[in-house]
């Protein structure tokens, strides 16, 4: 059965390693913070200027001066630090953040990503996404395998305007976990519980490599 949003987030959380600084995008990526594995210490960075971001505040404790990049009210954990936007993107570009998780409209089998603009629709802007994808060494895309029209979002070539080129290393969808090898395309690593390889093959438009038996995700 295809994963729901929390399932995708839960699977991505398994990629966290002890001691990592992590930037989570808006949407499914934000949910990853709810599934940090036992014994793993990570610290969350929000690009508007905080490290050591904690959970939402208790009712009544909201502070207009403490928000995340999604403009949601947040808290700061012990050991947190606050800084300006130049410093924030400085640490992103200098690769001090070990993992970036973000959503996408399309991903190509060479790791290109499109997630900011649909021609003909109101363009809201790229925010920090272009800086993040151009800088991070380790980017995981969290998204549905297909769009609302049922078309694959894993393509040979992105059709939408790009956010970044050759930067995505891993994609976790409602159906599968796939690595990206720019030479060979999407490498199928795991399938969602109960989802068959055939379905993934059918729903992946880009080059897809299926080697050996593909295990089910353990969630």
């Amino acid at each position: 059965m295809a994963l729901d949003k929390n399932g995708i987030a839960r699977r991505i959380a398994q990629e966290l390693r002890d001691g990592w600084y992590v930037n989570l995008g808006i949407g499914i990526p934000t949910l990853v913070a709810n599934f940090i594995p036992e014994g793993i210490d990570v610290e969350f960075q929000s690009e508007n200027g905080i490290l050591g971001m904690g959970p939402f505040p208790f009712e009544g404790d909201e502070d207009a001066d403490l928000i995340n990049a999604g403009k949601q009210t947040i808290t700061a954990l012990a050991g947190a630090s606050l800084f300006d936007s130049a410093t924030s993107f400085g640490m992103i570009r200098a690769r001090k953040v070990q993992l970036t998780v973000l959503g996408a409209m399309e991903v190509s089998d060479r790791g290109d990503i499109a997630n900011w603009k649909i021609p003909g629709r109101m363009v809201k802007g790229m925010g920090g996404a272009m800086d993040l994808v151009a800088s991070a060494e380790n980017i995981i895309v969290a998204m549905q395998h297909s769009n609302r029209e049922g078309e694959s979002k894993l393509l040979t070539e992105c059709t939408l305007p790009l956010t970044g080129v050759g930067c995505v290393k891993k994609v976790v969808t409602d159906l599968a976990v796939l690595d990206i090898d720019p030479e060979r395309g999407f490498i199928l690593r795991e399938r969602a519980p109960g989802v068959g390889v055939d379905e993934i093959v059918a729903k992946t438009a880009g080059r897809l490599v299926v080697e050996g038996a593909i295990p089910e995700m353990r969630l």
Partner: protein, 236 residues
């Protein structure tokens, strides 16, 4: 001490005229110069170019200046959450330049640090790169980006002193420090204005040299865009 304190937001905008380029601090509605925006609306200055990460919301923040058509062009990284903005943009009344957020921050920082241009990886291979010089460093492509040039910077801090020193609180810092450093004329409004010598010199975020005018804002609404909370555990 060098005199920087002005009476109020109206006086602080002296010399701000039609057609100028302004930097306006804040991220979303967090850390925006509420009093200066209100004064600018009252002042009615038109044809402005605003460099600001966002464009406010309908009825608040820079949305107030969009309503009155005082802004000709926005330079931002993200402009959602604003119907009037969308209407003016789609009708062609408003010009919009979208810039990656880190590039926006660094172009402000460069202006305040006397660095005319720098290389950054953001936007390579995208439409942001169109017309820009690309150069490889360590096998990776980077774009040449330039410092901004702003006639005025309008920023908001938590505390400030008579010498113009600024301290921010929480994530209300965001773009304010770099914009403060970048303005040809920098105006800072603060929640609390204190005598020189009150603030710890080690804890200053923006040294007074960058701030030309400072005043204590008459009133702060500090609106929250996305109020997200968790329930208090009733068992505790």
């Amino acid at each position: 001490m060098i005199r920087k304190v002005v009476a109020n937001a109206d006086v602080a905008l002296d010399g701000l005229t039609d057609g100028m380029t302004l930097m306006v601090g804040g991220f979303g509605l967090c850390g925006i110069p509420e009093n200066l925006i209100a004064a600018l609306r009252k002042r009615g200055t038109r044809n402005l170019t605003c460099i600001s990460n966002n464009a406010g919301v309908d009825g608040f923040g820079l949305g107030l200046l969009l309503e009155t058509r005082q802004i000709r062009k926005m330079i931002s990284s993200y402009v959602g959450e604003n119907d009037e903005f969308e209407r003016q943009m789609l009708s062609g009344e408003l010009e919009v330049e979208l810039i990656p957020q880190g590039t926006l921050a660094e172009r402000c920082r460069a202006a305040g640090a006397g660095i005319p241009a720098f290389f950054t990886p953001a936007g390579f291979g995208t439409e942001v790169a169109e017309g820009k010089e690309v150069r490889m460093f360590g096998g990776k492509p980077y774009l040449l980006e330039h410092a901004f040039d702003a006639d005025f910077a309008l920023v908001k801090a938590w505390k400030g002193d008579e010498a113009g020193n600024l301290i921010f609180k929480g994530t209300a810092r965001n773009f304010n420090p770099m914009m403060a450093m970048a303005g040809r004329v920098t105006v800072a409004e603060v929640e609390e204005l204190v005598p020189a010598g009150t603030l710890d010199p080690n804890a200053i975020h923006v040294p007074g040299i960058f701030v030309h005018r400072i005043f204590q804002g008459a009133h702060y609404e500090k609106r929250i865009e996305q109020r997200t909370v968790r329930p208090k555990n009733p068992a505790i």
